[in-house]
């Protein structure tokens, strides 16, 4: 199949690459760039494990063809923190509040949570539940995740 040229900025770095029309953004990230933080949990838009930021908004990377992302900026869990040496405050809060068990849903959760707080700096419990309803977690029961998002929101204000 004919490959198409696209430009993608991934975690702040610009790349030019050739992709096949069938390739998803998730595949490109995982297989070509070895950015395996975004997970394959279902491949059909049901679980949220593949969530990344596309031009600042959370998207399901398994549901996007790479060609549709031409010219856009992608941020994955690996590039979420603006500083290389330190974690993003939302990442720290997830650890602190015990919001991480198996960790498989975590990258997607943290991305969705960060996007929510970027938009609404003091989210209510209901806001958080709504924003995260597409990110499934089978381990935690969400309680600690919701708390972590609140703590993360407070920390994001401080920095």
């Amino acid at each position: 199949m004919k490959k198409l040229p696209i430009e993608l900025t991934i975690n702040g770095r610009a790349h030019e690459l050739l992709v096949s029309p069938k390739e998803t953004l998730l595949n490109v990230l995982r297989e070509r760039f070895h950015l395996t933080g975004a997970k394959y949990g279902c491949g059909i838009g049901e679980c949220g494990a593949c969530t990344v930021l596309l031009d600042g908004l959370p998207v399901l990377s398994c549901q996007l063809l790479a060609v549709m992302c031409n010219g856009k900026k992608v941020v994955t869990i690996e590039g979420l923190s603006p500083q290389e040496a330190a974690a993003h405050p939302m990442q720290d809060s997830f650890v602190e509040e015990g919001a991480v068990q198996c960790g498989f849903c975590t990258p997607g959760m943290v991305i969705s949570a960060t996007a929510l707080v970027e938009e609404k700096s003091e989210p209510t419990t209901e806001d958080i539940k709504v924003a995260l309803r597409g990110n499934l977690c089978r381990c935690t029961g969400y309680e600690n995740i919701i708390r972590a998002v609140k703590t993360g929101a407070r920390k994001m204000k401080e920095v």
Binding site: L35, G103, F104, T106
Partner: protein, 765 residues
């Protein structure tokens, strides 16, 4: 002397891999890559019951880029090992528990028939499409009670009942006749899907020594033995390397991808990768057993239980897998945490042409809890008695005898648990609308931790100090995300007096880490924790002895904290741990130890009536909920949830609460929404749009209260909490629905449809 004053144990310390998990650094099974890798896919049955008339793989084989196409003829031993993993006792009932690739007949929809490996996942998929198959359908049987009938189609052999256990204590007939009240009901529970977020996945390669390495997501490192048996090669030539697991809940306890990976890499001598799709997770792997439970319970008018009789029937699906064990759990746990003088239970697990069922958190303890706790509330209503009081009159006490004639070895803190749970619900919520009714319910449970004692369970662990005073623990304990590695790190750090982040745990490499058994049966902390404690205590003793020499004092007076060995009596007597280590090294004294913990051992069970001890101990707890029922639609919302569990001792508070909350969420899903449905053996809810698991929107305010009796058999008096956390959630919900709207919930999940029709029935009567 056992160390008693703790700096690390009982805190909320961060775990050893959480930071890497939030950063996206953890290399899960599917994240691992090797050059020159092939991709493996499985061709599965599209019929629930059929003969394979014709199978042609030639076209698939001929496709460019396809490296191997294997059928049952290419599998040296096509039935998975008869021995149950990691055990010393052979269990006849479990023979032929799983077939690797179908031979001439398929017995369930999704049964593996052919496995292929190709250069890309797309090519592997194309190869599957080229496989030609013709079936001749056979009559199937999809209801376990139908399957018990003499003329039912047989799945294997000549009897579909593959396990039968019973309890016999006292004389139930007489006791029912003398009871003041008797309640009777039939309950049904659904087939539940584990729905762990990480699909089964892994990578296998044959190394330069001719050893097959399988790096994959598993709860059972000891599966290298099954792989060796299937391939017909020595166990010493198969190495399993367990990864950090993206959730399992029992779903990664049976064989998953390892045999397929091993077959393909052995045949091609190339690395082979495989990951189940979510669809394949739906129809290609086992679920929780659906049960029919018929209960009859009697009591005196002042609320003393007199007798219980039950019939339990579980649907094993098309293969045996762990069904006999699951049924054994159900049987022993069927009385609930109550002393009942007269008990008669008959339990059956039956083969059908449905999807296989096997291990799932709760392991047979959960289905019976729904029944025995619904029965308790039914009795309370009939007796017009407070359900808390009724239960308090009947709870086991330490030393009481169970219906399998085993004495309860630890504290039973159920009086405290039930009081705290009900109290913690706080003031009752106001209904949110005119059709809304608010109700409350609770349920108490018991759940064993550790494997059945006739399996002679052991776990080994190795602890060694380094020259700089840091330490390494080697222990074959898969980490499911529950903090399994963290708890043994905490135990070693505590006993050796070194900071947590200077202890490194190497887990789950079958040729590197001492075998510690499976992460199943709520045994990880109990078994590996005890083994690590033994090994760390040995090292500690060596250090304290040598330090006592150096300080000219008695070892009994010494302790280690923050890498300093000091005397608790004379403050000037202290020496750096590193100096003691150096002295040991100079004198050739080993500061490493390998030790093995043995659980209780009993003889093999010889009869189907269980008359002897089967378990090490139990965890007891209560869950309480407040629900709101919409009487127009039948929709049930859980508003509040409380779980109170006696965990013996919490090694890490954060992890313990995490188990309690996560287990409860799965239990609430089981109560209200989760149902893996099949029509004549064909799955219809195999993806996460149809098979609903709780989302952030479905979860109530939750409160976890930890009790610590310090009476468990785990390290420092710990009990297990992984499975007990789920058990009582569903009956608590059922009892709350009854409290809200006065209907009996006999069939889980309590979906809006079911609740709606029950409400209709109630109005009509």
């Amino acid at each position: 002397m056992e160390k008693q004053n703790f700096n690390i144990i009982g805190t909320r310390a961060d775990g050893c891999d959480e930071k890497d998990k939030v950063l996206g650094n953890v290399v899960y099974a599917e994240d691992y890559i090797m050059p020159d890798t092939l991709y493996c896919k499985v061709f599965r049955s599209a019929k629930a019951s059929a003969m394979i008339k014709k199978l042609n793989i030639d076209k698939a084989k001929a496709l460019d880029g396809v490296s191997c196409v294997l059928t049952h003829e290419d599998v040296p031993n096509n039935e998975s090992a008869k021995n149950v993993v990691g055990q010393t006792t052979e269990v006849g009932l479990l023979e032929a528990k799983q077939r690797i690739l179908a031979t001439d007949r398929v017995r369930y929809y999704g049964e593996p028939i052919v496995v292929v490996a190709a250069e890309t996942p797309e090519l592997a998929r194309d190869a599957l499409e080229l496989i030609e198959i013709e079936y001749e359908e056979l009559p199937g049987v999809f209801d376990p009670e139908e399957a018990m009938k003499p003329d039912a189609p047989k799945i294997h052999g000549d009897n579909n009942v593959i396990a039968n256990w019973a309890l016999r204590k006292g004389d139930v007939e007489k006791a029912f006749a003398e009871s003041d009240v008797v309640v009777e009901a039939e309950y049904r529970t659904p087939r539940q899907e584990h729905a762990h977020m990480e699909p089964e996945s892994g990578l296998a390669w044959v190394d330069d020594m001719g050893v097959i390495n399988i790096r994959y997501s598993t709860q059972v490192v000891e599966h290298y033995r099954d792989v060796a048996a299937v391939l017909g090669i020595p166990e010493s030539r198969v190495r399993t390397i367990g990864t950090i697991i993206g959730g399992g809940f029992g779903g990664k306890e049976d064989l998953t991808v390892e045999v397929f990976l091993a077959l393909c890499s052995w045949n091609t001598k190339r690395p082979v990768k495989m990951a189940f799709s979510r669809e394949e997770m739906g129809f290609g792997r086992q679920k929780r057993h659906p049960y029919v439970l018929r209960y009859k319970t009697g009591a005196t008018k002042d609320g003393k239980l007199t007798a219980m009789q039950a019939e339990l029937i579980s649907d094993s699906g098309a293969y045996v897998m762990l069904s006999p064990w699951v049924l054994l759990y159900s049987t022993v746990h069927s009385t609930g945490p109550y002393f009942i003088p007269n008990v008669k239970v008959d339990a059956y697990s039956v083969l059908t042409n449905n999807i296989m069922t096997s291990a799932f958190r709760g392991f047979g303890g959960m289905q019976v809890a729904f029944a025995y706790e619904s029965q308790m509330d039914a009795l309370a209503i009939k007796l017009n008695m407070d359900p808390v009081e009724l239960r308090k009159k009947n709870f086991f006490k330490r030393g009481d005898e169970t219906a399998n004639f085993q004495s309860i070895p630890s504290e039973v803190m159920l009086d405290e648990a039930v009081e705290k749970a009900v109290e913690a619900l706080g003031p009752k919520s106001e209904p949110s609308g005119k059709n809304m009714r608010v109700g409350r319910g609770f349920a108490c449970s018991w759940q064993s931790y550790g494997r059945m004692t006739y399996l002679h369970d052991t776990a080994s662990s190795w602890v060694g100090l380094e020259m700089d005073g840091s330490a390494v623990v080697r222990c074959g304990i898969p980490d499911l995300g529950g903090g399994q590695r963290e708890s043994i790190r905490a135990i070693a750090a505590e006993l050796l007096g070194i900071p947590l982040d200077e202890v490194h745990v190497i887990s789950t490499d079958s040729q590197v880490t001492p075998l510690a058994g499976t992460v199943t049966a709520t045994r990880a902390l109990f078994m590996s924790g005890n083994a690590t404690k033994l090994a760390a205590e040995n090292v500690r003793e060596v250090i304290l002895e040598k330090a006592a020499d150096m300080l000219e004092t008695a070892a009994e007076d010494l302790d280690i904290e923050n890498k300093m060995v000091y005397s608790s009596r004379q403050t000037d007597k202290k020496v750096e741990l590193v100096k003691v280590i150096r002295r040991c090294a100079a004198e050739g004294i080993s500061i490493q130890s390998l030790d093995t913990y043995k659980a209780a051992f009993t003889d093999e069970i010889k009869t189907n009536v269980i008359k002897d001890p089967v378990y090490n101990d139990w965890t007891f707890g209560t869950q309480a909920v407040e629900v709101e029922v919409d009487t127009e639609t039948g929709k049930v919302n859980v508003l509040k949830h409380v779980s109170v569990q006696d965990v013996g001792r919490a090694i890490n508070i954060k992890r313990t609460e995490g188990q309690m909350e996560g287990g409860a969420a799965q239990g609430l899903g089981f109560a209200l929404m989760e149902d893996y449905l099949e029509v004549d053996g064909v799955p219809i809810t195999w993806n996460l749009t149809e098979y609903l698991v709780p989302t952030s929107k479905d979860i109530p305010d939750s409160n976890s209260i930890i009790l610590e009796s310090r009476s468990g058999k785990g390290p420092f008096g710990a009990k297990g909490i992984g499975e007990p956390s789920i058990t009582a959630a569903a009956p608590a919900v059922a009892n709350a629905i009854r409290d809200a709207v006065g209907i009996k919930v006999l069939h889980l999940p309590a979906t809006p449809e079911r609740v709606f029709w029950e409400l209709q029935k109630k109005h009509q009567s």
